[in-house]
């Protein structure tokens, strides 16, 4: 396989400002592309930022509700001018552009924590909605279904990933291993010192490259007009996230990072044939599985809350028997 350079961008979003944050994504992607990166990854919910206030506010109080309204307004809708800008940047730069987003359906009021991957031809090649938010995150994000557990062929390896503590879901990981994932994205907000061991474990379990990418943001990075800013946030020592971006090779060895306490772009050269060779030793979905004993089934059906039969789909209206 082709040896390529990949980049993990550790930066601060312009929190709750979608268009300004997309401007930052494009500028940083340009920098990484100029360094030769063919894949550029941004952190969890980077556009327009991780709703850190869920950990600082009381559920349902006025500030939390105001902030939710702001996030809903600034969320990313797929197929909107916001995703068009990201798509155009991927095409213009000829890169895989992968970014976390607070995303919603066009007519929806529920936010999802989504990982978007744009291909170098500008198509939205993958959209993964986090299956299970963590703790206070459950107050702002809904849950994705099994239809977005996909792995995409890039030409230099099969690309996919899970978001933050989804990476502690053994069955979700097993599904991606079975799809042959080679390049595993792990955008996160997790700042703990156990996170890097987790990235190393996943690399070794999946014998894949793992790109961990984390935001780096402190209170002084927050826009002045963020609702509740003065009451919730302090000065330069008030870190929302110090960052933890790390790239790990298929034997669990750290190739770059962890980068902590500063903005930056972490680069590594990857060669997916090394990952596939490493699976001679261990292949969780192949010779090191026991499909006679342990069999996983995954429901990949998209689950919409309402299906409009005979209205939007053009299918015939139900006959008399069905109507009864």
């Amino acid at each position: 396989m082709e040896r390529v350079k990949v980049a993990a961008v550790q930066a601060a979003p312009v929190l709750a400002d979608r268009d300004a944050t997309i401007g930052k994504v494009i500028a940083l992607a340009e920098t990484a592309a100029a360094e030769g990166a063919r894949l550029v990854a941004f952190p969890e919910a980077f556009v327009p930022g991780y709703p850190d206030w869920v950990w600082r506010t009381r559920p349902w109080d006025a500030t939390a509700s105001t902030l939710y309204a702001r996030l809903l307004d600034q969320a990313v809708v797929v197929g909107s001018p916001a995703t068009d800008r990201l798509s155009d940047a991927a095409r213009r730069l000829g890169i895989w552009l992968c970014a976390g987003a607070d995303e919603r359906d066009e007519n929806g009021s529920t936010l999802y924590n989504t990982l978007l991957c744009f291909a170098p031809d500008g198509t939205l090649a993958a959209r993964h909605r986090k299956l299970m938010p963590t703790g206070a995150e459950r107050l702002v994000w809904g849950t994705g279904d099994g239809s977005t557990l996909t792995v995409t062929e890039t030409g230099f390896g099969r690309l996919g990933g899970l978001i933050c503590w989804e990476n502690y879901m053994p069955l979700a990981r097993a599904a991606l291993y079975a799809r042959g994932i080679d390049v595993y994205l792990a955008p996160t907000w997790d700042n703990s010192d156990v996170w890097v061991p987790t990235l190393r474990h996943i690399a070794k379990e999946g014998r894949c490259y793992v790109i961990g990418v984390t935001a780096c943001i402190r209170a002084t990075d927050l826009p002045d007009d963020l609702p509740g800013r003065a009451g919730l946030y302090g000065g330069p020592q008030d870190w929302l996230s110090r960052g933890n971006s790390t790239i790990v090779g298929p034997d669990g060895e750290i190739l770059a990072g962890p980068l902590t306490g500063e903005d930056g772009i972490v680069y590594a050269e990857i060669d997916v044939s090394a990952a596939r060779t490493a699976r001679q030793q261990f292949d969780a979905a192949g010779h090191y599985s026991r499909s006679d004993i342990l069999r996983l089934t995954v429901d990949t059906t998209p689950h919409a809350a309402v299906a409009f039969r005979g209205v939007d789909t053009g299918e015939p209206a139900p006959g008399p028997a069905e109507a009864r």
Binding site: W165, Y168, R290, R295, D299
Partner: protein, 323 residues
């Protein structure tokens, strides 16, 4: 009190000498019990030690004598040797967990097995490794789904997987669903990557994790060991150093913090007090088999039935009918 004192014994075995190695189990368990341990854990295939020829030479390259020695020194259940291990547990009133190379009474296939003896001197559980790794596949058979125990000691639910089985996400998940509190990972895996895995597992299921390795220096293998020169080729020792087993024993808390170890290149018994309340409270953050699972999307099917090679059926009266 919800505190369990555990001892993770990193020690050398007496290579391919079952009874002398069980002597070491007796001595080291007695010492751990004196320190107040209620659960004492020994490494992977500690009895009678790792079949190290599988990595020091090409496969089937003059190993017949060693395999015969292994078959002769493998543990059979029940036998005087397994009775002795049970008696050691009873004498010291501990849960005794020991890795052993095990075989059926009339069998010639060796299994990589972990045995759980209760303080009452009963064999409370046994786990045969499901998949051996690489060269191990030329020495060990594979266990079936009937030996994936999680044992309630009254204070904690204990169990675990052996060495690289710990990289099997589905096997781990199955044990998570059964409420395991203390995860035992007997292993031969050296190095920091393994410690990362131990920390990951602890955090993934918010449980205590104990990784237990043997430690063995080439100098500990007796000069009279059969074929010793062929067993330890100079080129192998030059490339890999004199530590055949470097050790890596570690105890990790439910948030992924290392509580003791890793200890390397020496014998040592790590002792730690495990507060089981931390498991329960940790799972409010993350419970992979509960609120952090998606059973609407993922369904794991586990076949736990024993799979003997033969099921014999005698039909009464067959001969009469034929006559």
């Amino acid at each position: 009190m919800s505190v369990l004192r555990v001892a993770a014994v990193q020690a050398g075995y007496v290579l391919m000498d079952r009874d002398a190695t069980i002597d070491r189990v007796a001595e080291l368990t007695a010492a751990a019990a004196r320190d107040g341990a209620e659960l004492v854990v020994f490494p992977e295939v500690y009895v009678p030690g790792t079949p190290i020829w599988m990595d020091t030479r090409p496969i089937w390259d003059g190993d017949e004598e060693w395999f015969a020695l292994l078959a002769d020194n493998a543990l059979v259940i029940p036998s005087p040797a397994s009775d002795r291990l049970a008696a050691i547990a009873a004498e010291h009133q501990v849960w005794l967990v020991v890795g052993a190379q095990e075989r059926e009474p009339h069998g010639s296939t060796i299994y990589n097995t972990v045995l759980y003896f209760s303080p009452g001197g009963e064999l409370a559980g046994r786990h045969r490794k499901l998949v051996p790794t690489g060269s191990e596949r030329t020495v060990w058979g594979m266990g079936d789904g009937s030996t994936l125990p999680v044992i309630d000691t009254g204070l904690a639910r204990i169990g675990g997987l052996t060495c690289w089985e710990n990289y099997m996400p589905l096997a781990r998940f199955y044990l998570y669903t059964r409420g395991i509190d203390v995860w035992l990972a007997p292993t031969l895996a050296a190095g920091d990557g393994w410690i990362a895995t131990m920390r990951h597992l602890a955090r993934e299921n918010r449980m205590y994790v104990i990784g237990i390795n043997p430690v063995l220096h080439a100098g500990q293998i007796p000069a009279l060991f059969p074929g010793r020169d062929r067993l330890l080729p100079a080129a192998y020792l030059e490339a890999n150093g004199p530590w055949l087993e470097e050790g890596n024993t570690v105890i990790v808390g439910p948030d992924g913090t290392v509580l003791a170890g890793p200890v390397r290149q020496r014998e040592e018994t790590l002792i730690a007090d495990l507060d089981l309340r931390q498991v329960a409270s940790g799972r409010r953050h993350l419970d992979p088999a509960g609120h952090y699972n998606r059973p609407d999307i993922f369904r794991l099917h586990v076949d736990t039935s024993p799979r003997p090679a033969v099921t014999e059926t005698a039909i009464a009266g067959t001969d009469d009918q034929r006559a």
